[in-house]
Amino acid sequence: MLYRVKKAPWFFAALILPAALVVGFLILYPVINGIYLSFTDASPLRQGALKFVGFENYTYLFEEEVFYASVFNTSFIVFVSSALAVIMGFLIALLLHFGVKRFAPLFRALVFQVWVVPWICVTILWGWMFNKEYGLINYLMTATGMTETNMDILFDQTGAQWVMIAGFTWRSIPFLMVIALAGLQSISTEIIEASELDGARFLSRIGHIIIPMIRNVLMVALLLDSVRFFQEMTLPLLLTQGGPVNATMVLSLFTYQLAFENWDFALASAAGTVWLVFIIVVAWIVLRFGIRKEHVK
């Protein structure tokens, strides 16, 4: 360490201050205030002082069917798309690292660009690709004989969920591929060569040597990605408005609509608090059971 706070207090304060102001006013205070508001009847439409209502918002939420639907849909969509993205990202990284090593940087650079396509554009594009009469997906599905007639995928409950999953997965495969590839590149070639000399077959090498070595990296990337999926709602907001019959109603959309369409800040805060607790539990489970301690520094 170069400095100690006691030796250079003003320098330390000057470094920390800008970030502390932003975080304090716009992250930390809003979280604490949000949890507080969830126990009140806060709403910009209501006049007069805040009333403390105890757990009323929570009991209301837990009697609401849409709320259960949104928790379930969020878990389903986030879980399936993260799993698909991590598996496909890993497979592509393997292919690049062991199969087409020479072109790996080019392929990586090309695919990584997908990661910046703005969600609003993904939404427009998805609307077009899944269009009933002229969409590419319907064309491909009927042409290959998967379906007999064109389907209105966005108006089908399961279909709409899979459209969301397709969007989330597609946009985050590049991220997981890049992380997995970096993980693979960090494994020393000696280990791989030694296992080759031991006569380990390719699949067992992957299962017994490679996956255990980059497992933690993948787990952390997976967690970061699922956290982002929890927040992302451009796709369901614009494409399906949570429908059909709440099939794509996710927690973020539910909370947002409560807050800024119904202007019920209290209920939205309660939903946000449940969401926060939920994600803490998920993160804890992933970190507790997904991460191997011996690899952590």
């Binding site: 706070v5 809003p30 199969g99 392929f107 969600w119 609003i120 594009l125 002229y134 909370t255």
Partner: protein
């Protein structure tokens, strides 16, 4: 009459390589197909969009869809998005790198808790944060100004900036700073003249990350501002365009290409630093 083992191994390797290339190309075609489809549709006249089977290549190539986009409203929204994303990128990188320097070079208790907090804060429900932000901005009279969006996006980007910059600063050796301090340089000038020039790729990566996420941001754009003069692209497209465009898919694709292009190019130019920052952080 048997084939020599070495030549079998050789041909096996050849087949393996061929298979690997085929699968790789197939996988990439699959991943890039949506982007291809976006671009191709944007160059088709509207009559050619509604045909079955779809045209895989625009036979009547046209720029009309792009030319039609240029109206004052769209230019205004582009300008707003540029201002908001640019300012958020600068502010977040500025505050983030100072804080990261403190985290990397100071000894203090609660450091790991601080870093953990920054990581965890990326998971805080944004709509819930926005409730209090909305009230705060309302009291400060910042609603319906650039500042509401700039500050909101800065806050959303800051954890990432701190995290990225800490990784970058941790990687540079401490010796030069020590030597400069011994020579009597002030801590501030050490930071300005030694550290910051060395982490330029990090600053670029952080700036671009925040720029891209702010460019992408929809909810605050929909909520914190209401007049078209300050509305950003995602919100503007949501409110003004989606209804008007009803069915005119080729024009919508052209719009989508135009919205993607700035971040696409920025990201492409700086991909090296971004990759470095991301993978260094993830592998720790």
């Amino acid at each position: 009459m048997s084939i020599k083992p070495s030549s079998t191994a050789f041909s096996y390797r050849k087949i393996n390589a061929l298979a690997a290339y085929t699968i790789a190309i197939a996988a990439f075609a699959f991943l890039l197909l949506p982007v291809y489809w976006l671009v191709v549709t944007s160059f088709k006249p509207i009559e050619d969009v509604f045909v079955v089977p779809p045209e895989m290549w625009p036979h009547n190539f046209t720029f009309k869809n792009y030319v039609n986009q240029f109206d004052l409203r769209l230019i205004q929204m582009f300008q707003n998005s540029l201002i908001v994303s640019g300012a958020a990128a600068i502010l977040s990188t500025f505050a983030g790198s100072l804080c990261a320097y403190a985290i990397s070079r100071f000894y203090f208790r609660f450091k790991s808790i601080l870093l953990l907090f920054f990581l965890a804060s990326m998971a805080f429900p944004v709509p819930m944060l926005m409730i209090t932000m909305y009230s705060t901005f309302h009291q400060l009279g910042l609603l319906d100004t650039y500042w509401a969006l700039i500050l909101g996006n800065t806050a959303m980007g800051l954890p990432l900036s701190v995290w990225l910059m800490t990784n970058f600063i941790d990687q540079i050796p401490i010796d030069m700073e020590e030597a400069a301090l011994l020579d009597g340089a002030s801590p501030f000038s050490v930071l300005m003249h030694i550290v910051l020039p060395m982490v330029r790729p990090g600053l670029a990566a952080s700036g671009i990350f925040v720029f891209v996420t702010s460019w992408n941001e929809l909810l605050m754009g929909l909520t914190f501002v209401s007049s078209p003069e300050v509305r950003t692209l995602p919100a503007g497209i949501t409110l003004a365009f989606l209804g008007e465009f009803e069915g005119d898919w080729s024009e919508m694709m052209a719009l989508a290409v135009m919205v993607t292009l700035p971040v696409f190019l920025l990201f492409m130019i700086m991909q090296k630093s971004i990759l470095k920052g991301m993978t260094a952080g993830a592998l720790k």
